[in-house]
């Protein structure tokens, strides 16, 4: 793997929403690079523009200024090698399709043959612990189950870049731990590049090889922290490492700083 080369490059990205009540500067200016095969966690205060950033990265929203390049080419539409898990999992599943069809649809769109598709779908659903609900509709599932379906869909798609927006918000602690390990496994086994937004600091440190801390709006990258924990991680032992505690405290303090900046009076 060409460790040095750049896969995704964000340069001076700026996004201002135009609305009747006046423009809202969601992202001030963000610059960072992601190398192929990296696992980057993004943390930042609520409303700082994480979702907005992901939407710009994935070609769903045109930035106001700056550029996003993937493999050297500017991103203008959703790239074919990227899968996104949306924060609003409930609304990103098709209510008229069963769980299985929801997961299978992107594969169909990519022209994956039927047999292969079935295997991929079933394996992905098994990974998230949902092999029992194949034939149910999303609205027959609990919130956490829906979220896992959305994750399974992204995993089954076998993307080169996996973008996830607070994907574990609605699942219980145990499932969450399992899913975290799933993400690390997928990342290691398939060599995908992962961008992972979370508001759980421990999670960002446990998962990431690198943590980007965003400031509050108008957003910039407050800190770009390399996580020098061993590659083989384990829910119990890794979280018990003194270095883990150091890192999480560091991130925590950064976010505190970001928040304080927010609460400081702004013109």
């Amino acid at each position: 793997m060409a460790e040095r080369s750049v896969l995704l490059s964000v340069q001076d990205l700026k996004k201002t929403y135009v609305s009747a009540t006046g423009p809202v500067e969601a992202i001030g200016s963000i610059t960072f690079d992601v190398r192929p095969g990296e696992l980057v966690c993004i943390v930042g205060p609520s409303g700082c523009g994480k979702t907005t950033l992901l939407k710009c990265l994935s070609g769903l929203l045109a930035p106001t200024a700056g550029s996003v390049t993937l493999d050297g080419a500017p991103v203008t539409e959703p790239p074919r090698t990227m899968a996104v898990v949306f924060q609003e999992y409930g609304r990103s599943l098709y209510p008229w399709l069963t769980v299985r069809d929801n997961v299978a649809l992107p594969l169909r769109a990519r022209g994956v043959p039927r047999a292969e598709r079935t295997t991929a779908v079933e394996r992905a659903l098994e990974e998230v612990g949902l092999s029992q609900v194949l034939h149910k509709y999303p609205w027959q599932l609990s919130g956490g189950m829906q979220q896992r379906v959305a994750i399974a869909r992204a995993v089954a798609y076998q993307p080169e870049i996996l973008v996830m927006d607070e994907p574990f918000a609605a699942v219980d602690a145990q499932t969450r731990a399992d899913l975290e390990d799933l993400v690390r496994r997928v990342w290691q086994d398939l060599g995908v590049t992962v961008l992972f937004v979370t508001h759980d600091i421990d999670e960002s440190v446990y998962l990431g090889e690198r943590v980007l801390v965003l400031s509050s709006s108008p957003t910039f990258v407050q800190e770009d922290l390399a996580i020098d924990l061993p590659a083989q991680r384990d829910q119990l032992s890794t979280r018990a490492l003194p270095r883990f505690t150091e890192l999480r405290t560091h991130v925590y303090e950064q976010i505190q700083r970001a928040k304080r900046a927010e609460t400081a009076p702004t013109p």
Binding site: G59, E88, S92, L97, Y157
Partner: protein, 263 residues
């Protein structure tokens, strides 16, 4: 279990006929001692209905051909409306281009266009179909356009990011997403189609359910005319029943999510 089923069936039957029975009773009372020829009693209309519409010759010569034209016309309207509606609804520039024209045509009474339609299409079935379609596409078309426009933004983003496009997107995303509104449009189109079936038979015709109604009206056979109207209404009820079955299937996910949520 079966007792409950029977009870439920009885209840829905009661609901289906309750109000109509009340209305007929009221009608009978209101016409009991008037002799106004234009408001015949229900008994008189029922008699006319039996005499006029249960005649096999009328059924094969007037009713069935009309219903066939209605069926073809409405199916064509639905097909045209959905196809054109999805394309227009999902292509903003096309919508901007066509909207004024569509609004223009919608406002023009078919009655006025008939003479020209007749010149181009002759005075056979194709002209009548054109009249039916010219009126009943609009509800489907408009509702499809609106349904496609109103798509849930998160769902739209999901589809875009997974690059679900082309026929697959129409089949699995755009059409299902718009389907509740499309079905509302179809339901309106069915009734308008029936009305236009009658109107289309007012021109250059010599048979058909609609022709007969207008003919009876001109012949001052008022009870017969009302019996034709009654038949139209009954056709409407049957068509609506078929539609409900189809809608239940097409929108099962939609109704399902609602009903269960209500316990």
């Amino acid at each position: 279990m079966s007792g409950a089923t029977i009870r439920r069936a009885a209840a829905s039957f009661a609901f289906a006929v309750g109000l109509p029975v009340l209305i007929v009773l009221g009608w009978a009372l209101a016409t009991r001692d008037t002799v106004n020829l234009y408001l015949p009693s229900p008994a008189r209309v029922a008699q006319a209905f039996v005499d006029t519409w249960l005649d096999p010759e009328t059924i094969t010569g007037d009713v069935l051909p009309s219903l066939a034209r209605f069926g073809i016309g409405v199916l064509a309207s639905i097909a045209i409306g959905i196809v054109a509606g999805t394309v227009i609804g999902s292509t903003p520039w096309l919508r901007a281009l066509l909207e004024p024209m569509l609004e223009f045509f919608r406002a023009i009474p078919p009655v006025v266009l008939v003479p020209v339609l007749m010149l181009v299409l002759g005075i056979g079935d194709s002209m009548k179909l054109a009249v039916i379609i010219s009126g009943s596409v609009w509800p489907v078309l408009l509702n499809t356009v609106e349904g496609v426009r109103a798509m849930d933004p998160v769902l739209a983003d999901t589809s875009r990011s997974y690059r679900i496009r082309g026929p697959l997107a129409y089949r699995y995303f755009i059409l299902p997403a718009a389907s509740p509104q499309i079905m509302a449009g179809v339901r309106l189109s069915l009734a308008i189609g029936l009305i236009l079936m009658v109107i289309s038979e007012m021109f250059s015709s010599s048979s058909g359910l609609g022709f007969q109604i207008v003919y009876f009206q001109r012949q001052y056979m008022i009870a017969e005319m009302w019996s034709g109207t009654l038949l139209l209404g009954l056709v409407g009820v049957v068509v609506a029943a078929i539609f409900t079955v189809v809608e239940r299937r097409v929108l099962h996910w939609y109704h399902g999510s609602r009903e269960v949520a209500r316990g």
